[in-house]
């Protein structure tokens, strides 16, 4: 038994200390994502050409001149328009500056897959935004990592780390 305890303890040590990045679960919004600092939650509204004043929640944190922001828009009243809301958001983003990169990310695998779209845009104000958008179960999710001009390092990798940590509970609850 002592050997077992030692082995388990060694495995615990191997896992290492928790990173400053920490996952925050928003069960009521059907999403979890990691932030490098504790995010602030704020009620908001979202305007679209299809509807004005849609209920939204924004979770955001700033770390070392990079703003990490998750916007969740409630589309339950217009669930049939989900793809259009997503594409409209992507269309708006691409108009904000020069599009450097487009990707179609996937969360989970096989029949559980949730697909989205990612864009990296150099904005006219000197900031660079990496934004990943998903439409899932009646909500629009927009995960933005915005490298502010004060950071002076638009090629840092951290923004891609942010949107890669997003997950949705495939069976209605998190593991």
């Amino acid at each position: 038994m002592r050997i077992l305890a030692f082995v388990v303890f060694a495995l615990l040590l191997a896992a290492g200390p928790a990173s400053a990045w920490e996952e925050y679960k928003y069960l009521d919004q059907g999403v979890a994502i990691q932030f490098p600092a504790k995010p602030q939650a704020m009620k908001s509204t979202y305007d679209s050409v299809y509807a004005k004043g849609l209920a939204a929640m924004i979770y955001s944190a700033e770390d070392d001149h990079v703003v990490y922001k998750l916007t969740v828009v409630d589309l339950t009243a217009r669930a049939d328009m989900g793809a259009n809301f997503l594409n409209e958001a992507a269309n708006r983003l691409q108009r904000e500056g020069e599009v450097l990169f487009t990707d179609f990310p996937r969360v989970y695998q096989d029949a559980r897959s949730v697909f989205g779209v990612s864009l990296v845009v150099d904005r006219t104000d000197g900031s660079r935004v990496r934004s990943s958008l998903y439409h899932h179960k009646g909500r629009l999710y927009i995960a933005d990592a915005i490298v502010l001009p004060a950071r002076g390092d638009n090629d840092m990798t951290t923004p891609s780390r942010y949107d890669q940590t997003i997950r949705f509970p495939p069976d209605g609850r998190f593991d």
Binding site: M1, A5, L12, A15, S19, V107, S118, M156, P159
Partner: protein, 142 residues
């Protein structure tokens, strides 16, 4: 002792409970090539769902910049010789990686070579056709 062991086992199970298969696609990395860079380990985050290795690298302008590489989960990597302090902060290493498609400084961590000549590879092999694929960690469609 029994309670202690069981408690520790439970905690370990939680820590290593990350899904064996990647939770997101790796399409953002250029799977057609492996690049190599050398630098000093700045930080190694041996965390779920993916480990992150941050390396200070001197660029062609003489500036030191940080590159970041995403690896597998600790439960996958530990069986391949990785640990919380291997690689260790301050070590000079050579990193093999599949670069980010968006041009940012980083990529998919494939291998680390130490000054001693020892090399550890990712759960998806070394990237050069060698290395071990950890079962459950690789899906061809990724």
């Amino acid at each position: 002792m029994t309670r202690t062991a069981l408690g520790l086992a439970g905690a370990a199970a939680v820590l290593f409970a990350a899904p064996a298969a990647a939770h997101h696609a790796f399409a953002m990395f250029d799977q057609s090539k492996v690049r190599y860079v050398s630098g000093t380990v700045k930080q190694f985050e041996f965390v779920n769902p993916h480990a992150w290795l941050h390396v200070a690298i001197v660029n062609d302008k003489g500036d030191t910049v940080t590159w970041s590489f995403e690896g597998g989960s600790p439960s996958q990597l530990v069986s391949l010789g990785w640990s919380q302090d291997h690689p260790r902060v301050g070590e000079m290493i050579e990193v093999g990686f599949r670069p980010m498609k968006d041009g940012s400084r980083g990529g998919q961590l494939m291998s680390v070579k130490f000054p001693s000549g020892q090399k550890v590879c990712s759960n998806r092999g070394c990237g050069d056709g060698t290395g071990e694929i950890v079962p459950g960690a690789y899906r061809p469609q990724e």
